[in-house]
C-alpha cells in the first residue's frame, strides 16, 4: 500500500521519466544493501576465522569492532594509488572495474521471492553465466597492464584456473536446468517446491541438492575455485606466491578486494537458488519468505569462511587436475545418468 502511494507520488513528480527513476531506485535498493553486505562480510570473515583459531578478531573500532570495515574503507580511500612506470595506464585503471562490475550487474536477474525481481528475463541463468564470465578480464588485464613479471604470471595462473572451473560449473548448471526444464531462476526455484517430500511437508528433501548430490558437490567446490578463495586461492597466495594485484595500492586494490567478496555473495545466492530451494521454506508448516533465501546465502557464505580456516592451500597442478580430470568427467557422466533417469518411468521431475 505504501509502495503504491510512493509510486503515485513519484509518477506525479517526474512525469514521463518516471519509469527510469523507478528502475534506478530499485537498482539502488539492491546495490546499497549488497555493498553493506560486502563490507560486513569482510568483518564477519575476520571474526569467524579469529574464533576458529582461538583469537578474538577485530574488536577495537566501535562497539564489538563493528565500525572496523568502515575504518578500513576510509583508510584505503586516503591512500595513494601508485601507478607503476611503463604500465598501460588506461588498462591498469579499467581492470579493477572489469572485476567488480559483473558481480553487481548479475544481481539484475536474481529473484528474492515469487514476484520480487528487478528484471524477470527468460534466460536469466544464461545471462548470469555470460556476465560473470567477464570477471576474468579484470584479472588477466591487471596482470598484463602492471608491467611486472610477477603480476603477469599471477594473472595467467588465476585466469587459467577460473576458465577451467567455469567449464565444470557450467556443466553442473546444465544438469540443474535440465531437471527444472527452464532457464529462468524463478522457475528453477518453483520447480524445487514440488515432489514426493514437498507434498508431505518435508520440502528440504525435494530441493535439487538431494537428487543431484554429485552436481551439488561439484558446484560447491567449483564456486570456491571460481572466486579464487582458499584453499584454491592461487590468485593471491599471500604466504608463498605473488598474485595479479601486487602492483595495485589504495582504492584500486580495494576494488579487487570488494569484487572478490561481491562474487562470493553472488555465487552463494546462486547456490541457494539453484540447489537449496531459494525462498522456499524447508518445512511445510512455515511460510515461504525471502528471509529463507538470506538464511541460505548466509549458510553458504559461512561454508566459504569455514573451509578457509580449515584446509591448507592446494598445489596448482592439483587444482587443474581436480577441475579437468575429476569434475568434468563426473559432470559429463552425471549428465547422461540424469538424462536417462528423466526418460525412465522413475522420473521424479514431472
Amino acid at each position: 500500500m505504501m509502495i503504491d502511494m510512493l509510486q503515485q507520488l513519484l509518477q506525479g513528480f517526474f512525469g514521463p521519466v518516471y519509469p527510469l527513476v523507478w528502475t534506478v531506485l530499485k537498482i539502488v535498493l539492491i546495490i546499497v544493501p549488497l555493498l553493506l553486505g560486502v563490507a560486513y562480510l569482510t568483518f564477519w570473515e575476520r571474526k569467524v576465522i579469529g574464533w576458529m583459531q582461538v583469537r578474538i578478531g577485530p574488536n577495537r573500532v566501535g562497539p564489538w569492532g563493528l565500525i572496523q570495515p568502515i575504518a578500513d574503507g576510509v583508510k584505503l580511500m586516503m591512500k595513494e594509488i601508485v601507478i607503476p612506470t611503463g604500465s598501460d595506464k588506461g588498462v591498469f585503471l579499467i581492470a579493477p572495474m572489469f572485476a567488480f562490475a559483473p558481480a553487481l550487474a548479475a544481481w539484475a536477474v536474481i529473484p528474492f521471492n515469487d514476484t520480487l525481481v528487478l528484471a524477470n528475463v527468460n534466460a536469466s541463468l544464461l545471462y548470469i553465466m555470460a556476465i560473470t564470465s567477464i570477471g576474468v578480464y579484470g584479472i588477466i588485464l591487471s596482470g598484463w597492464a602492471s608491467n611486472s613479471k610477477y603480476a603477469f604470471l599471477g594473472g595467467m595462473r588465476s585466469a587459467a584456473q577460473m576458465i577451467s572451473y567455469e567449464v565444470a560449473m557450467g556443466l553442473a548448471l546444465v544438469v540443474v536446468l535440465m531437471v527444472s526444464n527452464s532457464l529462468n531462476l524463478g522457475d528453477i526455484v518453483k520447480s524445487q517446491g514440488q515432489g514426493m517430500f514437498a507434498a508431505r511437508g518435508l520440502g528440504f528433501l525435494s530441493w535439487n541438492w538431494l537428487p543431484l548430490l554429485p552436481m551439488f558437490a561439484v558446484y560447491l567446490i567449483s564456486i570456491v575455485a571460481e572466486t579464487n578463495r582458499a584453499p584454491f586461492d592461487m590468485a593471491e597466495g599471500e604466504s608463498e606466491i605473488v598474485g595479479f594485484h601486487v602492483e595495485y595500492s589504495g582504492m584500486a586494490f580495494a576494488v579487487f578486494f570488494l569484487a572478490e567478496y561481491a562474487n562470493m555473495i553472488l555465487v552463494s545466492s546462486l547456490t541457494a537458488l539453484l540447489f537449496l530451494g531459494g525462498w522456499l521454506s524447508p518445512v511445510g508448516f512455515l511460510p515461504d519468505s525471502m528471509f529463507w533465501l538470506f538464511a541460505k546465502i548466509t549458510a553458504v557464505l559461512f561454508f566459504f569462511l569455514w573451509i578457509r580456516a580449515t584446509f591448507p592451500r592446494y598445489r596448482y597442478d592439483q587444482i587443474m587436475r581436480l577441475g579437468w580430470k575429476v569434475f568434468i568427467p563426473l559432470c559429463l557422466i552425471w549428465l547422461v545418468v540424469v538424462g536417462c533417469w528423466m526418460m525412465s518411468p522413475w522420473n521424479i521431475w514431472k
Binding site: D88, A123, M129, A130
Partner: protein
C-alpha cells in the same frame, strides 16, 4: 526519434568505432580489447532484435571464453608492429579483392531481404514460446544431424590439438597423483628409537 532507434544508432556508432580501432590500433592487446567491445555491442544490437539467446551466447562464448584465450596468446607473443607492416603495399591488392568479395556477399544477403527479393523473408516470431525454447526445439528436431555433425567436427579439433601437443615424449617431471595417494607414512619416514647415552 523513437528511443529504440536512438539505442540502435548509439550501439552502432560504438560498434563501428570499436571495429575500426581493432584494425588500426598499434598495440595488439588494445586491438583485442576493442574486439571485445565490438562483440559486446553487437550483442546489444542483437538484443534489440529480440534474439536474446543469440545475444547472451555471443557474450558467453566469444567474450567469456574465446577472447580470453585470444588475449592469453596475444599477451605472450612478442609482436613487432613495424615488421608486420613491412609487406603492407604488396599484400594490399589481394586483401582488397577479398574485402570487396565479402562486401558483395553481405550486400547480396542483407540487401536481398531488405528489398523483399527472397520468397520467404525471415518469419516474425509472434509465438508465446521463448527464444531459447524455440531454438532448442529446432536444433534437436529439424537440424539435429547438422548440429551433431558440427559438434563432432569440434571434438575432432579438440582431440587433434591435444594430440599435437602430446606427440613428443614429456620432458617435464611430474608426480603421478594416483601413485601419490597410495603413499603411506612408513614408506617415507623411519622412526628410530635410540637410548640416550650418559655424558662422560
Amino acid at each position: 526519434m523513437e528511443f529504440k532507434t536512438f539505442v540502435f544508432y548509439f550501439l552502432s556508432a560504438i560498434l563501428v568505432f570499436a571495429s575500426l580501432r581493432v584494425v588500426t590500433s598499434r598495440n595488439p592487446v588494445h586491438a583485442a580489447l576493442y574486439l571485445v567491445l565490438a562483440f559486446f555491442t553487437a550483442s546489444g544490437v542483437w538484443m534489440l532484435l529480440q534474439a536474446e539467446f543469440l545475444a547472451i551466447s555471443l557474450v558467453l562464448i566469444y567474450v567469456g571464453a574465446v577472447m580470453v584465450l585470444f588475449l592469453f596468446v596475444v599477451m605472450m607473443l612478442d609482436i613487432n608492429i613495424d615488421r608486420l607492416r613491412e609487406g603492407f603495399w604488396s599484400y594490399l591488392p589481394l586483401g582488397s579483392i577479398i574485402a570487396l568479395l565479402m562486401v558483395a556477399e553481405m550486400a547480396l544477403v542483407l540487401g536481398g531481404s531488405y528489398f523483399d527479393l527472397f520468397e520467404n523473408a525471415v518469419p516474425q516470431t509472434g509465438i508465446a514460446e521463448s527464444n531459447v525454447q524455440a531454438i532448442g526445439r529446432l536444433m534437436f528436431t529439424e537440424y539435429v544431424y547438422p548440429f551433431e555433425l558440427a559438434s563432432v567436427i569440434l571434438l575432432v579439433g579438440i582431440v587433434a590439438a591435444v594430440a599435437l601437443t602430446q606427440r613428443e615424449k614429456r620432458k617435464t617431471k611430474a608426480v603421478s597423483p594416483s601413485r601419490q595417494v597410495f603413499v603411506k607414512a612408513k614408506d617415507r619416514v623411519r622412526v628410530l628409537q635410540m637410548p640416550s647415552e650418559p655424558r662422560d
